[in-house]
């Protein structure tokens, strides 16, 4: 088998297994729930930590996320969402809720910008899903600075105001960058 085909086969199998474990979790299967946690907690924790920027808070949020997963897994439909997308949406939502609930003043997030700005590593690209590759292709079609802002918004959970301040542009400008980029992404992904 061609290495790339083989890799894709492995990845698809892993994804199907995870989807199956989530479905079982929805039926109350604790072993499956544990397997979901083992397979995904490091990734979700990385995602949450970037947004919360504080380990203790991020661990609290991670706990909330998996308690939610346990109770809401019944609603997961493998035909409609990939398991990682479904889990990541819960994780980002909880993390953003948490940082929106705290005072906007204390958010020194400079360190987080490095990774968000970085282009995906060449090695890592091999592990990407087809959806991710398509999204990257579409992000590449945007103005580089706009694409960078979309990534920063996604990984840091920043508001329009905070992004505008970071980039040194008026809020109105930031809104139009992001809105235009989102519409272009949608068109590109649907094309």
């Amino acid at each position: 088998m061609h290495p790339e085909t083989e890799r894709r086969g492995t990845r698809d199998a892993a994804r199907a297994a995870l989807a199956g474990q989530l479905v079982l979790t929805g039926k109350g299967d604790r072993a499956a729930f544990r397997a979901v946690y083992q397979a995904t907690s490091a990734k979700l924790f990385g995602l949450i930590l970037r947004i919360c920027n504080d380990r203790e808070t991020a661990e609290d949020v991670l706990q909330e996320v998996y308690v939610t997963v346990w109770n809401k897994a019944e609603a997961f439909d493998p035909a409609r969402a990939s398991p990682i997308t479904w889990l990541a949406a819960i994780a980002r939502n909880r993390a953003i809720d948490r940082i929106r609930a705290r005072k906007p003043a204390a958010q020194p997030l400079e360190a987080a910008a490095e990774v968000a700005d970085a282009a995906p590593l060449a090695d890592g690209a091999l592990e990407q899903s087809d959806e991710k590759r398509r999204l990257e292709g579409c992000l590449d079609g945007l103005e580089p600075r706009h694409a960078a802002v979309i990534r920063i918004a996604f990984f840091e959970g920043r508001t329009y105001e905070s992004l505008a301040e970071r980039e040194g542009v008026p809020v109105g400008t930031m809104k139009s960058w992001i809105r235009r980029s989102l519409i272009r992404l949608r068109t590109c992904l649907e094309g």
């Binding site: 924790f45 995602l47 970037r50 706990q63 899903s129 918004a153 508001t159 329009y160 992404l185």
Partner: protein, 240 residues
Amino acid sequence: MSDPRDEARDLNAAEHVLGVEDADARAASQARLRNDPAFAADVEAWEARLGPLAEDAPAEAPGAHVWTRIEQATGDNVIAALPRPAAKPVASGKGVNFWRGWAMAASAVAAAALVGVFMLTTPKMAPAPHHMVAKVMGMDGKPDVVVSYTTGTKNLMLTPVGDMPPKGMTPRMWLMRKDGSVMLVGDVDMAHPERKQLNPAMADEVAHAKGVMISLEEAGRQPGRKPSGPMVAKGMFSLV
């Protein structure tokens, strides 16, 4: 996708998923998610579009205690056995303590009461920090809220997992004390998880409580010293 798209709604969904809304706009979108199925469908579509970016998140191992807490918070072992018939009124004549009261420094009156508490229940050994969890179950056997509390950090965390309350009703949470009395915690927002750092008096109450219960009250009704509406859920604390 031939149906005409509502552009404003779709953009709202995209911004919500990207996470660029401020707290107010975000709350508005969350309310809309519950009431507007077309908006919810747009949000789901955007989660599918942008979600793959999460693959770039660096993996980072959380502490091992996190899984222990999750197991406790989701396990069946914390479900309450049927408790006493009804909670008795609280003995104390203190004012109502809502969430903000819990999180803020104790008032002079409460501080005075606290001195009393300390004098009555003198120095048990200071316990090592531990983690308490109560899974608050509705009468249908489904969980409504998971309450967890860490004595070391005095952090109380509420994770709502149940359905939204009926219109015009508010779920109100009460601490169940060991003597059978109850103490008001506050209204529960079933839409958002909450975390509060408790002041010492409240921390002490929680550390010695049996569990929590939830009554369903008419929205806007001032709380008394005990629930006016029916009790709809309860759960006992267990130690982690």
